[in-house]
Amino acid sequence: MIRVCLPMHLRSLAQVGTEVQLEVPPPVTQITLLDALEAAYPMLCGTIRDRQTKKRRAFLRFFACQEDISFESPDAPLPDAVIAGDEPFLVVGAIAGG
């Protein structure tokens, strides 16, 4: 199972805890992970990436295994530790503003 950690506002929107677990069919990439996340929690559509362009929203970043992977290709496989469920995929809101 893939583990995904959402920021507080999206946890309250989706009514989930700190971490959600998803079945993601291979290949496990940013795109397939987010497709699975939005399929399981449709209220998250449009909140992490644009509905049409699928581009990540400007104030969000993706982290995994202590690395900022926001600018990796959305089609690139995620780290093995994420695929194995040893490390979570983190959706992080920019720490700015009020």
Binding site: S12, M43, T47, R51
Partner: protein, 371 residues
Amino acid sequence: MSTVRVLVGTRKGAFILTSDGKREKWDVSGPHFAGWEVYHVKGSPLNPDRLYATQYLSWFGQTIQRSDDGGKTWAPVSNKFEYDGVPGTHMWYDGTPHPWEFKRVWHFEPSLTDAETVYAGAEDAALFKSTDGGQNWAEVSGLRKHGTGARWQPGAGGMCLHTILIDPTNPNRIFIAISAAGAFRTDDGGETWKPINKGLVSQYIPDPNAEVGHCVHRIALHPSRPNVLFMQKHWDVMRSDDAGENWHEVSGNLPTDFGFPIDVHAHEPETVYVVPIKSDGEHFPPDGKLRVYRSKTGGNDWEALTKGLPQQDCYVNVLRDAMAVDKLDSCGIYFGTTGGQVYVSPDSGDSWMPIVRDLPAVASVEVQTLP
């Protein structure tokens, strides 16, 4: 005895304030959607337990919440707002063309005739409609495409469609207002639209007969007389007696005619309320005194209402959607401030008291009068 339910949108969530008809003791529920900006919450006049809330953050964009039990529980509905066709461009602040981009929903207006139909006013300015309680949205694109859209320009708060008024005697007639494009009207349910800005004069527009470009802050009408409109423009309080075809100024003896909200007494169509704000550069009341002004003559002759309101060192603002009236026999007037206070006057404005003092900055106030 009737009850009132006040729906408050704030910078950090929504709150619901309820009281009996005396409007003295209040229950406060919230924050709902804690941490999110809630620009507006509004209920259906046909099914008062059906509420819509617009929930937004720059980080995560727009989501829409719906309640079917008067705000006890909420569930997200569709946030899919797509412009019809290729949206083209409007005018940017510097006068250059700028692509239309959906940002957020400012205002809901549930239908007066169908409990499942609701309109949403959006930024960048567009009118959306749902006929299934918010599960799907479609643009009423005749407005944006009627011909002047390329000349619409954002105000300081963005290019927002913030006012939607449905004629209670004719559901095909709808008035809307956009900052900073002006007021528009349809008489065929949204297929075709026309600007209704004749008589508006705006300092910053060189052409005194400009069809569009006016920064209309708010429009209000009384349900018994929908051809009479009152407008708080950026500067100037205006009145139309012919459904917006012509406007004339009724600022009269106001200390300043800048402001945001305007509303009409529930039982007296000629009694109008505004909250004068010092200027567009100083968004607070003149002299640090929070005063609602009431005209019982449909404008021009205004009286200050101060009893119970702070009369020194008060530097809050009252935003365009943050005033409402209830329908009780003794009409209640409500408004919220950017300082987090929500005030009620249970006697048509003669006296005021705070319902709450310390909410986040208030963006909107609506009130439901329940049997």
